[in-house]
């Protein structure tokens, strides 16, 4: 399969990237592990592919009580990052390790995945449970949004066509916290039939689900079974609505149990 004809331009810096994205059918490429497959299927037919992969938007650092993850950080870099080893942040590498395969993890980026907004993608659930926010830039300026605000539907976000993620900001959980990710995957595609991320802190617990609704989402606080019973869950040829709802309870229980154990180890 060969993509439809397109032009290719490499952005030299962020402003240059935003300028190139002014073309109506331009599309940004980071690792390309979601974009290239849909270009090959000709579902995406960008007139111009803007390569942002060499911008200085990668790496992980702790600053002002938050973890800052550059959107161009690859899954592989997240797995290898020593700064993510503490139990409170363990869900990030745990989740990354299960994404795609080695080849995809070498190129695929966290920012690309988040804005691709696949309703079954794993990492948005982890970022939602951890309360992540995104820093966005467009020619109109910068804005700061909660991740949940931009995910509005399957493969649908509120990002403007000339808007890019410049930073993923995760508030550092208090000492004594633990996080975990658990999923039951479709064996062929590897995508989650149901995935759950949990964060357990001294103040409380948060669970976010993926693969079961139109977007990954945070469950309302309270009884887990009741919250999942009240959630909008879909069924398809791989898993009925009823089965998916049950799977959601199973993975949420697993993620919570693991996060609670980890919280005991967190200094």
């Amino acid at each position: 399969m060969i993509p439809a004809a397109t032009r290719f331009a490499r952005a030299s810096d962020l402003d240059h990237a935003l300028e190139l994205l002014a073309e109506p059918d331009a599309k940004a490429i980071a690792g390309g592990q979601s974009l290239v497959p849909v270009m090959k299927l000709r579902i995406a037919r960008p007139s111009l592919v803007v390569d942002i992969s060499r911008l200085e938007l990668r790496g992980i650092e702790e600053r002002d009580g938050s973890l800052h993850i550059g959107p161009l950080t690859t899954w592989d870099e997240l797995i290898e990052a020593a700064s993510l080893a503490r139990p409170a942040l363990a869900a990030i590498a745990e989740c990354a390790r299960g994404i795609g395969d080695l080849q995809v993890r070498n190129l695929g980026t966290i920012g690309g995945s988040v804005v691709h907004a696949d309703p079954a993608s794993d990492m948005p659930a982890v970022l939602l449970a951890l309360g992540a926010r995104l820093q966005l830039r467009s020619p109109a300026g910068a804005r700061d949004v909660a991740l949940g605000e931009i995910l509005v539907g399957p493969f649908l976000t509120t990002l403007g066509p000339q808007e890019l993620v410049t930073d993923i900001v995760v508030p550092l959980p208090a000492p004594g916290s633990g996080s975990a990710y658990a999923a039951v995957e479709h064996p062929a595609s590897g995508f989650a039939l149901a995935g759950a991320a949990a964060l357990v802190t001294p103040e409380g617990e948060a669970v976010a689900l993926t693969g079961v609704g139109a977007t990954p989402f945070v469950l309302p606080a309270g009884d887990l079974r009741e919250a999942i019973a009240g959630a909008e869950v879909f069924g398809d040829r791989f898993a009925s609505e009823e089965y998916r709802r049950e799977l959601a309870v199973v993975v949420a229980d697993r993620a919570l149990a693991s996060a609670r154990e980890r919280a005991k180890e967190d200094a």
């Binding site: 290719f8 390309g32 290239v36 090959k40 995809v104 590897g190």
Partner: protein, 151 residues
Amino acid sequence: MIAFVVNGEPRSLEVEGRTLLVHALRDGLALTGAHIGCDTSQCGACTVLMEGRAVKSCTVLAQQADGREITTIEGLSGNGEMHPLQRAFVEHHGLQCGFCTPGVILTAADLLSRTASPSDDEIRHALRGNLCRCTGYQGIVESIRAAGAAS
């Protein structure tokens, strides 16, 4: 026009914006060791190393490889000597028809560059993106384990 280093040699190539890396390597540079299997980023037969890391060349635009270092199966051996992984695959029945083998070996090369002596679980986890339809993986895992132990 892209300029990159392929198997240690600087090469330049005229490509379209939509040209896939696997086509650039096979049709542009006659490096047909990168196989097109599924062409949908699943089977891993097209795996090559980019900057030393395994990537599926059917899911990379050639332009993304501009300025990068690429290693294909043709570049793995040197001076007429087989690479330790290639030798191990011969000795431990790591291949039968051989179609998936270049991709499997390059994926294994990435794994061994990070983990010199991987466990069987680590080997199997690394091979998730490489499908083999004839040996049944056991010989592949044994070959990679042996190559790791030998190095």
